[in-house]
Symmetry: D2
Subunit: 299 residues, 4 copies
């Protein structure tokens, strides 16, 4: 009601074009920042942002994320990366460079709940996320029409106790080579260890409690039974152990004795979708590094 | 990923059927609660919840909301209300009774921003709100397809400087007798005093700042310029004075020096839609009473 | 810097004098509110605030708190209570009446951490709490000088593995008949079941995690190890099972990968003292009712 | 209750000894990070943490904070700084180096409210802050005993309308050369422009509203009158314009229609002291840079 009508921003991509992000992890020691920033300077790039973290400056592990403009880059990208790999070797780095010109491909798995799925699709449509949604896969057809309205491929892969192996094989087929990461947007199936070992990409899950409280099924029911005054949600990378993977993002909301399980579920939906969205955005922007089942999430 | 697949709740309406809510406001004095609850008991209703507030027990104004079951009601509704009106008169009450069997009719006005509109429509579809959306009215056509996908009537009423009076007349025509209240879901037009005086129903607006900070246009720009560490949104009833009506709900989010106007706008969208949804829900459930340009919001 | 210097409020007690609070719990059925408010009206009291909660209007348990002025009370208090007891009997109520003229007597147990203890003592001194601190009991002497500066009796009751029984006997001696409730303000000793069964008064504990996450020792260390993005604190009534009693209040704070155990501990202190203070205030104001290991906390 | 009694940490200083923090601000351009980190590496220091911010990578201003260990420093400090000054000149930097071995000297001004003052003194005593409190100055004597209990010099400097100039002269005398910064811990006097121009050190104020809402006197009264659902507090550097200086930190709390001005004041106290403490800590750790009446606050 109070803005002038001319100020609506166009949905331009959130990332600056022609930029890249360098991510490294290595044993901490003197000279890492100097060597890396010297390298970037010599190749005529401009550092736009830089974040670093050390688990311990003496004996710990060092993590860094540098975002830089490729505008004036003096060599071709393969040569640029080859040059860097020799620096990386001397510091024993794990590293990768992500290019803004290559947005990540996201696949979403869901079941019947629509709130996390729709929220992700809205954000993509609105230009909040730099990514392409390559597939939505569900063990139900309830959300098919919603997905198709966004012009996104929908795949129905039903799962029964007896067909779980075939279903997972089918999902792997849809993911591998097609997606860069997968999001479980309230996908109501336990994923097998075999699947995880084969999938070859990060899988992000949203769990509807503030982990490590209320691992497993029906956390809102458990929260009600325990009489907590706060409920929450947790986005994490999926690992073999249920609900125990590296936490990317969490948030909570206050509740009172007046709220029954149904109310907690409703309040929780708003937390779930926001937490998942923030986790997906951090992942898309290469701000999450995993180490020892924990995350460094750079701002 | 961690719920069993059988626990998806059906989207039953949030309100108990066959219940009613009695709302009163009157000068505070002894005996009000006794008289009202005695009345409800004598007519064989069962009080489900009761909230009250007094601005001052000696000289103030008393507000009460009682929700009760009509299961065993011993008279017809008109007689029930007639009986109550004599109690009401003796306490100089303003009062009304809202029946769960008559859900409110909501009209939504919007422009080009989709986040508040979609969030409301999605909540209605999910069964979070007990209401019927009778019309979406917009001065642009950008959101028409979205609205029609929900099977809701969409009305395009363009507004120019010269046609403002006719446009408002057309909107009044669409609202009066058709809707019980209207929601400005980021509707980017100043509403005239004439309109407000004619519309004859509550109008809820979402303003994208924590009022009274940043009244008027471009609050995110102003927030950035001032360097605040917190941004917010405010849902309020619209009154003649811009952004100065009774506040129903507010919320905030932390921001840092890293966020530019675009980032604030994006973060703000998530606050706006949640604040507006909570305000609309409170209004639908008759939990908001207005007095002296402020609100009592019962939980 | 911006207030005028004349506006400093005196530390008047937070409770209205000559008021009382009636608390009831009983099977829900029609007519409870009518009967109770009729009773209060007939005895010429004025209801100042009223809250109620039902676990289920059909088959559940009903809770109510009514605060009322005794100004015009037409009978002596013993007779007033005797009259009420016959109403209470007909509804199978558990009930009690608390009088503002009889502030609760609080005993505090602590060890070496000062933050929760000092915060409680400051609030008492400032007039935020309606209570008398009758004793501070500690298994260490570190905080003795701090306590004596508030003119509050300090008792050193050391605890060793071998003397635990005698120590608890001594504490019981200090509490029984002297205090109305006890607060464990980071008291670093497990309290025995025998003690709890003998103490005969509510005992409030502050646990430094958002329960049920991180039950037991060293929750900040566990929180760091798990890599959570939120830490919290929980105030609860102590029961036989460790950290599993009815939760009164909880709160949280966001943390990042940058915070080590020491930082979490520091951030946590601010949450602990605020959560404990809110729980103690709710208890003092008779706003907490316990049922089935959960709490109803009226506002 | 749940920790083992042996785990109480000693109150070691929060800062690593023998470290320094380099703070710079300059026009953004390529090569800054490379030049600075190369310099630090060549002098055999180890970067412990590094943060940077650019208002715009093309045309904006660049800010950086690097914390580094002086363990292996190969030259004396004056020579180290001299070397750096030539790099600084070539990039047109504003810069300074703060040494952990030289903790800042803090002076506190207060009136009658104790909550912000006591909270600061208590945090200093606990070892949460790396600083020395050199003086507490008050226009009243109410808090003198509290301050003396911490073994800190207390100065009573009364202020009347007629003696304001002399009083400010006396305060300047107590501050200049003695303190590195001053904190207005709910000091209830408007500070003159003359004072600010003479004082020669940063002055931090805590204002009891979420600025820019409710500038000036009695913000809780104004908040109550406006009927806001959120109240807040703001810590900022003092400038000539009242309550309009660069904001360092803000926080809020939810309130309802039930809270009167007295309740808001009480709730607000908890926000005020926490916000002020976080701002003071950020200032002490050289994490705050000011530019164009806004702050960059590095984490």
């Amino acid at each position: 009601m109070s803005d002038s009508p001319t100020l609506i921003p166009s949905a331009a991509p959130p990332t600056r074009p022609n930029t890249a992000r360098l991510l490294i992890g290595c044993p901490d020691r003197r000279g890492i920042v100097a060597a890396v920033s010297q390298f970037l300077f010599q190749h005529n790039t401009n550092i736009i942002s830089s974040d670093q973290h050390s688990t311990d400056p003496e004996t710990g592990r060092f993590f860094m994320r540098q975002e830089f403009s490729l505008e004036g880059l003096d060599v071709a990208l393969p040569e640029f990366e080859r040059h860097f790999s020799s620096i990386a070797a001397s510091f024993e780095m794990n590293w990768r460079i992500a290019y803004a010109s290559q947005p990540k491909r996201m696949a979403i798995l869901c079941s019947k709940y629509d709130h996390c799925l729709l929220d992700l699709l809205w954000r993509v449509r609105r230009g909040e996320f730099d990514c392409e949604v390559v597939a939505v896969i569900s063990n139900h057809t309830d959300l098919e029409a919603d997905v198709r309205a966004f012009d996104i491929p929908f795949h129905h892969v039903p799962v029964t106790k007896d067909t779980k192996a075939q279903s997972e094989a089918r999902i792997l087929e849809l993911l591998r080579g097609q997606a860069d990461f997968a999001v479980l947007a309230r996908y109501m199936q336990i994923i097998s260890g075999d699947f995880l070992e084969s999938v070859g990409m990060p899988v992000i899950n949203i769990h509807h409690s503030f982990l490590p409280a209320f691992v497993g099924a029906n956390p809102y029911k458990s929260a009600f039974a325990r009489g907590v005054k706060i409920i929450g949600a947790t986005a994490h990378y999926v690992t073999l152990e249920l609900d125990a993977g590296p936490i990317i993002e969490q948030d909570v909301a206050r509740v009172t004795h007046r709220e029954d399980v149904r109310d907690l579920t409703q309040t929780g939906r708003d937390i779930e979708r926001n937490v998942l969205a923030r986790a997906v955005r951090a992942h898309l922007e290469d701000r999450v590094l995993v180490y020892q089942n924990k995350t460094v999430v750079f701002e």
